[in-house]
Structure formats: structure tokens, C-alpha cells
């Protein structure tokens, strides 16, 4: 047999001078740059300047007055976003953020330092919006040229909007916010990447990123119910588009089809059946995630508005949300601002325990981990954590709900109740300091695989530590993008660790009324007990 020799990954750190750093990089490396949008998606979303273009071409076919549009829009966004204006002004380049970015750690590219990423646009801001900028280069200012646009595109899409740098910044400068606005500006001159737009267009049309039609969703939920029947012998009815249900349940659409998301979806259905929850799925609001948040405010609103519309149409009292990362940045920080919560919604109160979710009183949307933790605390679930004995678990805090919501203890509380072996990764890689999987923020696409594998390196190394030390073989994460990204990442870094969600572990441990004796877990793998 041919011996498999791992290719060495070299991280070349470069430290160019500040002058060189001001010069735009236009050489796009394979595995780091994104493909341009598809005409059909861009047309459907009514983006400006839809045309065939290629990032590798010299001529990007920008509109003739692109510079004027860019600067006018920049002025507009400076007025619309105080964050942007402030973050352009107050950075002192202390360097606290520099080594906090997983892309910088993984690639060594100086422009992947959060401060340098922001400098790409800050230099333009100085040139056109500050008096000192007239001095030019010496003031750290540079002219807006086509090369600068190219560079902005290249690096704005090398950021996963994870906000890790923002935790360490003494002024709270949030690179995610800066990158987001750069992406908005680029959108205005017809420069958008392919991956997010495909999903946004699908979601705008069909209600979910995968483009599943109502029949497909029903079929998927039915297959999941069949898997549950085979496992437990229980026939579960899954309500869809049911008017008058008490709760609308919204999950990321990957949960209908992808693996290991599928097991998480089994977990939802088993739990809701077991507690007799009066809820419904919706095909119109069949997506919890929101790729619109990766590109612009308007696109984000276009997608998340459907949830409230549907909640109102179905006459539900409140909304329960599934396991997803950026979905919770969107639901926690954006949803109720971008859309007024319908008056028909009522305060979120758990029908099983009577707990009033005070922290969700206005948005009326509760996270599944909060909901399940509450059930467990009130001893409403019969659990056999020994069914998860096969797994030695660690938890990856997904960036978005860790740093934009603060959901840290709820998943831990649930996990510690449903499995017996739980170990934390090193302290500086979890909770609010959690390292990104490297594929968030619209980067979950094949063409930037090199970047993703490198960006995921810090997380993979932290996992390797607990894998070696405690034999951790299950990486639990409550994020759909993580669940899709980690299997590749862990294969790349040669870590034999399974990836799954919290609700899979809950589904395994949940003792259901009238179930037959389980011989396998949700994955169909034999149960192992450790004593």
C-alpha cells in the first residue's frame, strides 16, 4: 500500500513596511479568492451592474462612474452607520487584534490582520473624508483605484465576520462591521461573490438557502420521521404550515438534508413529540440562517422578514429557533430591528414548564438551547446519558452566538446532562475567545478551501489537544455552518473526531414513552457503554 505522506503546510509570515502595505495586492491566489456571482442570482436579487466578470481578469467591467458611486455610497454609509464612521477614526493600530484572527494565524498574510484589513478601507476614508488625507501616502491615505477595489474584494471575502478581534480591541472596533460595510460598498458597484448570492436568491424565492420546495421539505421531514420510527418504533407526526399552533419552529435549512445536521433534526422531532409541543414547521419561513447578513442590510432584511410574516399568518404565539450560528446573530441582533415584531405574537412562555423567557420578551424568539436547558432544569425530560457513552465530547462555541448573543452556559448545561464525558478545549479557544471554524461569513465554498483549512487551523489544534489528552471523539457545535465545515477541516488536519450537534446528543439520551429498546444511536451506529 502506498504510504500517505502528509503535505507540510507552511505558514509564511511576512512583515512588509507600511508603505508596501498601502500598495494594493492584485495577485489573487488560487484557493483564496471567490468566484463572481452568477448572472441569474444577481438579476433575481436586482443587484446593480449585472454582467459577466472574472476576478482573475484585468478588466472587471466596472461601471464607468464606479468611483463616484463608491464614494457617494461610502459617504451615505458613514452617515447610516455610526460604527463605520467611528471605527474609521479611532483605531490607534496598537496591534492587540493582529494575532487574534484565525486567518492571519493560518495564512501569515499581513493583510489578514484585522487592523490591516480595516486599513484597506481606512486608507480610502482618510484620502477622501479627512483633511489630513490630502497629504497622501505619508498620512496613510491612498487613492481609490481599480486595484484597490480588487484588493478590497479579495480581503473582504477572507473574513468570516467572527468578531473575535472585537473582543480584544480596547475600543471595541468590530472588523465584522467594517467588512460588512465594505461588502455593501462593493455590492453597489456590482462586485459580489458567488456563494452567498446563490443561497440568498434561493432563500428569497423558496424560503430557504437550499432552494427546497414545500414538497421537498415535507419529504425530508417525513424521511427523518421514518428514521426515528426505525430507531424507536414511534410514529411521529410532523406538523407543517399548521395554523393556530402555539409555536413556530425555525431551523437552518441544512437540518433537512445535510449530515450531521440530519441527526440534529431527528433530535428536534423526538423532543417535540416527547413533550407534546404544539408547534409547526413552515415551508415559507423554512430557513433560520440568513446569508443576507453576509452581504448587506437590505438582503438580510429580505430574508429574515419572512419569519415574522409567517408567524403572523399562522397565528403562533412565539418562535423557537434551532441550532445555527449566524442565524442567532441575525435573530438576536437584527431581526426585531429590521422588522417590527407582529402584534399578534405573545410573550414567550414555555408551555411545558411555564417559564417566561424574559430575555426574549420583545423579539419573541427563543433559542433551542435555552428551551431545552429549561426543560432539563424542571426535570421534564427522562434522560439516559449513558446512551452517549460512545462520545467523549467537547463543545465548540460558534462565533456568532458566543460573541453576538452570549449563549455560553446553556449548551454546556444541556450537554452535561445528556452525556457523561465532557471536556473543555484550552481556555483561550472557547467561549468568547472561541476560534472560528474558518468557513463562516460566506466562506463555506469550495474555491477558498485553502483559506478555510488554514483559517480553521487554530481550532483544529485546540481540538487536537483535547483529543490527545482526553480522547475526545465528538465535537459538538450548535452551528449549521460548523457542522458542514468541520468534517473537511478535521479530515485535513487528520483528527478522527466526529462532528455533531447538541440536539443529536439530546435525541440519543432522551427516553421516549413507548420506545423499543435502542440498539443504535441516531447515526445507526451501535451503542457503546463505558463503566
Amino acid at each position: 500500500m502506498e504510504k500517505h505522506v502528509a503535505e507540510k503546510v507552511r505558514i509564511e509570515q511576512r512583515f512588509p513596511s507600511w508603505r508596501e502595505l498601502l500598495k494594493p495586492t492584485t495577485e489573487f491566489k488560487h484557493g483564496y479568492y471567490h468566484y463572481p456571482f452568477r448572472i441569474s442570482d444577481a438579476k433575481y436579487l436586482e443587484l446593480p451592474f449585472v454582467r459577466e466578470w472574472n476576478p482573475l481578469d484585468k478588466d472587471w467591467k466596472l461601471p464607468p462612474n464606479w468611483k463616484e458611486i463608491f464614494l457617494t455610497k461610502m459617504k451615505e454609509y458613514l452617515e447610516k452607520f455610526r460604527s463605520f464612521k467611528l471605527f474609521m477614526d479611532i483605531c490607534v493600530r496598537c496591534g492587540a487584534c493582529a494575532d487574534k484572527c484565525h486567518y492571519y494565524i493560518g495564512t501569515g498574510d499581513p493583510k489578514n490582520m484585522p487592523v490591516a484589513r480595516a486599513e484597506l478601507i481606512r486608507s480610502v476614508y482618510r484620502r477622501y473624508f479627512t483633511p489630513a488625507g490630502k497629504l497622501g501616502k505619508i498620512a496613510g491615505a491612498r487613492d481609490l483605484t481599480e486595484d484597490v477595489i480588487k484588493e478590497l474584494y479579495y480581503y473582504a471575502y477572507q473574513c468570516s465576520l467572527c468578531r473575535r478581534c472585537s473582543v480584544f480591541c480596547p475600543y471595541g472596533i468590530d472588523t465584522a462591521e467594517v467588512t460588512w460595510i465594505v461588502r455593501m460598498l462593493l455590492k453597489e458597484i456590482g462586485v459580489v461573490h458567488r456563494f452567498s448570492l446563490i443561497s440568498i436568491a434561493s432563500s428569497a424565492r423558496t424560503g430557504n438557502h437550499l432552494g427546497l420546495l414545500p414538497g421537498g421539505i415535507a419529504g425530508a421531514l417525513q424521511s427523518i420521521a421514518e428514521d426515528i420510527y426505525n430507531l424507536t418504533g414511534i410514529e411521529i407526526e410532523v406538523p407543517i404550515n399548521k395554523k393556530g399552533a402555539e409555536i413556530l419552529f425555525v431551523a437552518p435549512s441544512a437540518d433537512y438534508f445535510a449530515t450531521p445536521h440530519w441527526y440534529v433534526c431527528m433530535g428536534y422531532l423526538m423532543l417535540f413529540h416527547e413533550i407534546g409541543l404544539d408547534y409547526t414547521w413552515s415551508t415559507y419561513a423554512s430557513e433560520g440562517g440568513n446569508f443576507g447578513t453576509f452581504i448587506s442590510y437590505e438582503l438580510a432584511q429580505k430574508l429574515n422578514a419572512k419569519i415574522y410574516q409567517e408567524a403572523e399568518r399562522l397565528g403562533v404565539k412565539w418562535i423557537l429557533g434551532g441550532e445555527c450560528g449566524h442565524m442567532w446573530r441575525d435573530k438576536h441582533q437584527y431581526l426585531a430591528t429590521m422588522n417590527e415584531p407582529p402584534k399578534t405574537l405573545e410573550d414567550p412562555v414555555s408551555p411545558i414548564t411555564g417559564t417566561y423567557f424574559e430575555n426574549a420578551a420583545s423579539t419573541k424568539m427563543v433559542h433551542i438551547a435555552e428551551f431545552v436547558a429549561d426543560l432539563i432544569a424542571h426535570k421534564k425530560l427522562k434522560l439516559d446519558p449513558r446512551r452517549n457513552d460512545k462520545w467523549i465530547v467537547t463543545l465548540h462555541d460558534a462565533c456568532n452566538y458566543a460573541r453576538a448573543m452570549g449563549l455560553l452556559e446553556e449548551p454546556r448545561y444541556v450537554i452535561k446532562n445528556v452525556c457523561r464525558f465532557f471536556y473543555e478545549m484550552p481556555e483561550h479557544t472557547i467561549r468568547e475567545k472561541s476560534y472560528c471554524c474558518g468557513s463562516g461569513g460566506g466562506l463555506l465554498t469550495e474555491e477558498v478551501m485553502d483559506l478555510r483549512m488554514r483559517g480553521g487551523m487554530p481550532r483544529a489544534m485546540a481540538l487536537r489537544e483535547v483529543h490527545r489528552k482526553y480522547g475526545v471523539n465528538y465535537l459538538c457545535t450548535l452551528c449549521a455552518i460548523d457542522k458542514a465545515a468541520f468534517p473537511h477541516l478535521l479530515e485535513y488536519w487528520r483528527l478522527p473526531v466526529a462532528v455533531g450537534g447538541m440536539m443529536e446528543l439530546v435525541g440519543n439520551a432522551l427516553i421516549m414513552k413507548g420506545e423499543k429498546e435502542r440498539t443504535t444511536d441516531l447515526r445507526g451506529e451501535p451503542l457503546i457503554r463505558r463503566d
Partner: protein, 315 residues
């Protein structure tokens, strides 16, 4: 002549630029909308009763106005975020402290505060007793003659340390712009000239105080009189200080005021409990349920026919 230019005209201009510039900058920032509530949460959110929040969680992920205020105070007086600094090393997985930056920054800023407090004795008559007390305490009065102010000397060291970071650490060198060096060098020049004046080339302090008091009283003839009697050494320090004032509002030094506006720090993490309103929120543009229904009528009707539910097909 030097006295009039550097003692009277330039200080007035510089001070005016400083005040107008800072006010302008505050208005400039405040004018922009805050469309979204985007606190960076660095601790456990407030959710269920049995989910315990530690004291750190309450300030790193504040839920109320008070907790947010404490977060801001910690940020401003203790540089809390900077204190979290840990570095990533390929060769080791445990975290390694990299809080030097925090230490240097704290040293510099607190020394600056002490120095500024001590300088009020040139502006205030009578000198407040706490100013005298602080001056005496930090000089360990009686140990050296003349008294050596610890803050005045330490601030030089702190500035050099901060500057050395930018010169000797490759990452920091690479991100440092000329303006970053300039700010540090300007501050260094000011504190060094101040120290030189205090310990080596002495100037007439009572005349300096007279100048400042008459400037503040807009008693220009008297100010000119005092100004002409002061030694040139003083004007190096004074002109540089004036320049710093004028430079302040247009430079990164405005971080001092900017921190108060930072939306990731000055907003509570109670997003789902209290709605934040965006003043320019656009209307929804997208398909409606009706359009969706018409597009996928067959499939939706099928779901309706089966009673809005699916069941597993059991063989």
C-alpha cells in the same frame, strides 16, 4: 516677540482648534445613525434563572444600563479588553500572557493623568489641596532634592516602551503608520522638554503661572508682559503642547473620546428583550406568502390535504 507668538497667539489658536475640533468630532460621530444594537458579548447572556452569571459575565455581557456603565468604566479606567490579550503560538497550546501592551498603556495613561493633574497648579489659584497632596505623594517628598516626580519620569519610560514595540516587533512595525510614530514622538518631546525644564534648565515658574492665569482671564496686556519675561526653554515645551492640542481632534488621539461612542461596548446585550429601532429602516422588499403560494400551489395544497402534517410511511 517669541513670547507673544508662542506665549499668547499660538496657545489661543491651539486651544480654540482643540475645543472646536473635539466638539465638531463629537457632533460628527453623534450625527450618524446607530441602525443596529451590536454589543460584542464577552460573557454569559442573561437568560434563565438557573444559568448563573458571574460578576465578569455581568460586565462583559451587560444586560442593564448599569452593567453597561460598569463595562464602560472598566474599559476606560482598566483597559479591560486589552487585559484579555492572549497570544497564539504555534509551538504551544496553553495561553501565554501577552499583556505587556496593557501594562505599557496603563503606565502611560495613568502617568499622563497624574502629570495633567499636577499641571493644574499652573492654572488654578489657589492650588487645590489634593493636587498638592498628589504631587507630594508621588514625589516621595523629602527623598530627593529637588523632588523627583515619579509620573514625570515613568511616562518617558512608558512612551519609549510603546515606541519600541512599534520599532522592534515586526508585526507592530508593519502596521505602524508615520502618524503613529509621530504621536509618540510628539508626546516624548513634550514630556522630555518638561522634565529638562524642571530639573536642568529652570524657568521662572511664577511667571509661567502668571502667563497662564492672565491668558485664562483674557488679560492680554498682562499676558504679553509675563510672556516676554519667560526663558525660551519654556516655549519649546509650551509650543509643543499647543501643537498637541491642535493636532488632537484630527488624529488617532481622538480615541480618547471615541471610546464613549463605540457601539460594541456602550450598548447592553438585551437585544431580544428590548427592541432597538433603526431610524432609516427600509421597507421589506421581497415575495409575500401569496406570491409564494401561487408559485408552489400544488405542493402547498398537498400539504394542506394531508392535514398540515407528515407521518412516517410505516411498512
Amino acid at each position: 516677540m517669541i513670547g507673544i507668538i508662542f506665549g499668547v497667539i499660538i496657545p489661543y489658536i491651539a486651544f480654540a482648534i482643540f475645543v472646536v475640533g473635539v466638539v465638531y468630532k463629537f457632533i460628527y460621530w453623534a450625527k450618524s445613525a446607530v441602525p443596529l444594537k451590536i454589543p460584542t458579548t464577552s460573557g454569559q447572556q442573561k437568560s434563565l434563572k438557573f444559568i448563573k452569571r458571574t460578576i465578569y459575565d455581568r460586565f462583559d455581557s451587560p444586560y442593564t444600563k448599569w452593567e453597561t456603565a460598569v463595562r464602560m468604566i472598566l474599559e476606560i479606567f482598566a483597559f479591560r479588553s486589552l487585559l484579555k490579550n492572549t497570544r497564539y503560538y504555534l509551538d504551544r497550546l496553553s495561553q501565554r500572557d501577552a499583556r505587556w501592551l496593557w501594562l505599557f498603556a496603563i503606565l502611560f495613561h495613568y502617568c499622563l493623568l497624574l502629570v495633567l493633574i499636577r499641571h493644574t497648579k499652573f492654572f488654578l489659584e489657589p492650588v487645590p489641596s489634593f493636587v498638592e497632596m498628589i504631587s507630594e505623594l508621588e514625589a516621595f517628598k523629602g527623598v530627593f532634592i529637588p523632588s523627583v516626580y515619579v509620573s514625570g519620569v515613568t511616562i518617558i519610560a512608558a512612551l519609549f516602551l510603546l515606541w519600541f514595540r512599534r520599532i522592534f516587533l515586526s508585526r507592530e512595525r508593519c502596521i505602524s503608520l508615520p502618524s503613529d510614530h509621530f504621536a509618540l514622538l510628539l508626546l516624548l518631546a513634550i514630556v522630555i522638554s518638561g522634565n529638562v525644564m524642571r530639573y536642568f534648565i529652570k524657568v521662572d515658574i511664577s511667571a509661567v503661572k502668571g502667563l497662564l492665569l492672565s491668558l485664562m482671564a483674557f488679560n492680554i496686556p498682562q499676558a504679553v508682559e509675563f510672556a516676554n519675561s519667560i526663558e525660551p526653554m519654556f516655549y519649546i515645551h509650551f509650543a509643543l503642547g499647543s501643537f498637541l492640542l491642535a493636532y488632537f481632534p484630527f488624529s488617532k488621539l481622538m480615541h480618547a473620546g471615541g471610546i464613549f461612542f463605540s457601539p460594541t461596548r456602550n450598548m447592553p446585550n438585551n437585544n431580544r428583550a428590548e427592541r432597538h429601532v433603526n431610524p432609516w429602516n427600509p421597507p421589506y422588499k421581497g415575495i409575500t406568502w401569496q406570491e409564494y403560494y401561487e408559485a408552489y400551489k400544488d405542493q402547498l395544497d398537498e400539504i394542506a390535504e394531508s392535514g398540515y402534517k407528515v407521518k412516517p410511511e410505516v411498512l
